[in-house]
């Protein structure tokens, strides 16, 4: 097993699920330059990067030295920054934000690789099915029979609504009653007496 002495000894994950973003990369570089290295990265026993591919890329570009810690995952590696005091240092506070925010901005899942990986591992433990559908833009949908659509012509009746002031409404009601009394209650085409009365009034108005 070869020792990891520099970034050059690391192998990027050939199927990194995170495509990263331009903005995220810029933020990551700024964070590393301004605050130095925060958390560690993770490789397998062969030095292939499992987590922290983007960090290792940028760290390589700015020539950050590397220290290897070998572990079998039964202990938590604590990176203790002796130059920072979260109570007092602005940089520590900013690093706390940067650590989360850069990860958020620099995350862009690769749906093709996710799809490929789904044949090897159960992605259902990390995403709900609906979330995976959204990521892959690929939906589990079944066909159905064609829905029934009406092919008959429209019913020859219409409902019309108007907004009236109380005073106007009284006037209209009185006119409708008067029209009904004058023979406007019925018509050959409609059984709605108010509608007939209104049409009766309108006919009289339209024809002078």
């Amino acid at each position: 097993m070869k020792e990891i002495r520099s970034i050059k000894d690391l192998t990027p994950d050939p199927r990194n699920l995170n495509r990263g973003t331009q903005r995220g990369r810029g933020m990551l570089e700024q964070s590393l330059r301004k605050y130095g290295a925060g958390r560690s990265i993770l490789t397998d026993k062969n030095g292939v990067v499992i987590a922290g591919n983007k960090v290792s890329e940028v760290a390589g570009e700015i020539d950050l030295p590397v220290r290897e810690i070998q572990t079998r995952g039964r202990e938590l590696i604590v990176v203790r920054r002796m130059d920072l005091d979260l109570e007092k240092d602005k940089a520590a506070k900013e690093l706390a934000v940067a650590d989360n925010r850069v990860a958020q901005i620099d995350l862009d899942w690769n749906p093709d690789l996710l799809k490929e990986l789904s044949a090897e591992i159960d992605l259902g433990q990390f995403w709900m099915e609906s979330e995976l559908e959204l990521l892959s833009q690929s939906f589990n949908v079944n066909g159905i029979d064609a829905p029934v659509l009406s092919n008959i012509d429209r019913n020859p009746f219409q409902q019309m609504t108007f907004t009236l002031h109380d005073e106007q409404a009284e006037e209209v009601k009185a006119a409708l009653e008067k029209a009904k009394a004058a023979g406007g209650r019925v018509s050959a085409v409609n059984e709605n007496s108010n509608g007939n009365a209104l049409a009766f009034i309108c006919e009289a108005f339209n024809r002078g």
């Binding site: 892959s136 939906f139 949908v141 066909g143 659509l149 012509d153």
Partner: protein, 272 residues
């Protein structure tokens, strides 16, 4: 055509189509009154959907084609495709959908659809699929509301005062008093203490004739596609464009008589 010839289009449940449209359509919204929902499939996976239903303003649109009965036309309310579908899938899917509509609902004579050139595109897919352009209208109905949402004027009341008549009066008891009886989308917004900005851009109306004879009954002039550029109404993926040098310059320059399949990129799969 490549793998686009392998896509299939079939009816799917409204809830499934809504899921697809919400994920893929630029608006993230579905049209509530859609009745026919078609899924676009490749290798058993659904990567797009088309939704059809009655137009909101059916009475006004019915007269666009003379002698059209109430149920003889339908509106293509939404269409959206995933980026992973092969090139030309959009026009291929539209061609399948039109053929399916013609066969399944033989009384349908035409399909109307609107391209939203305020936020999305000027309808390159429609032009490539045999639709004719019948109107280019400066937008007045799509509004950016002060709460950040985008709404069609006709949906304002439904969105901000859902429910039956009287709901809005309870929500804003002085509403009628203040407006002196005026009931308009703008008044509804004012009652909620909101303002609106009319989105800059155009809306384009396209028609596809399922019954070729209906074309002769069109009561409005067919607008040459070149008019889109002349009016400055070009838009692709939410960005105003000039046709010259655009990604859509290979669409037909005039109105085709029959459906075509000129390659066009996806119109409605991006999100702003």
């Amino acid at each position: 055509m490549g793998r686009a010839k392998d896509i299939t289009v079939k009816p799917v449940a409204a809830r499934d189509a809504n899921r697809v449209i919400k994920a893929l359509h630029y608006s993230g919204k579905v049209c509530q009154n859609s009745q026919v929902h078609l899924g676009v499939f490749l290798d058993g996976k659904c990567g797009g959907a088309l939704q059809f239903g009655p137009s909101l303003d059916k009475r006004k649109l019915q007269g666009l084609v003379a002698r059209t009965l109430w149920n003889e036309f339908i509106e293509l309310n939404r269409l959206a495709f995933a980026d992973w579908l092969p090139r030309n899938s959009e026009s291929r899917a539209l061609a399948y959908a039109m053929r399916w509509l013609r066969k399944t609902y033989p009384w349908l004579k035409w399909v109307v659809s609107f391209a939203d050139a305020t936020q999305c595109g000027d309808g390159a897919i429609y032009r490539a699929s045999g639709f004719v352009l019948t109107a280019i209208k400066k937008n007045t109905d799509l509004w950016q509301i002060s709460d950040g949402t985008i709404s069609h004027a006709q949906s304002i009341k439904q969105i901000h005062f859902p429910g039956q008549r009287g709901e809005f009066q309870r929500a804003a008891p002085d509403f009628m008093q203040t407006t002196r009886g005026k009931v308009s989308p703008l008044e509804f917004l004012r009652a909620k203490g909101k303002t609106r900005v009319i989105l800059n851009g155009f809306q384009l109306r396209y028609i596809y004739f399922l019954d070729p004879a209906a074309r002769d009954c069109l009561t409005v002039p067919i607008v040459p596609f070149g008019e889109i550029e002349r009016r400055g109404a070009g838009m692709y993926r939410g960005k105003p464009i000039s046709r010259a040098g655009s990604d859509t310059k290979d669409t037909p320059g005039d109105q085709p008589g029959k459906g075509g399949s000129t390659p066009t990129p996806a119109l409605q799969t991006y999100r702003k």
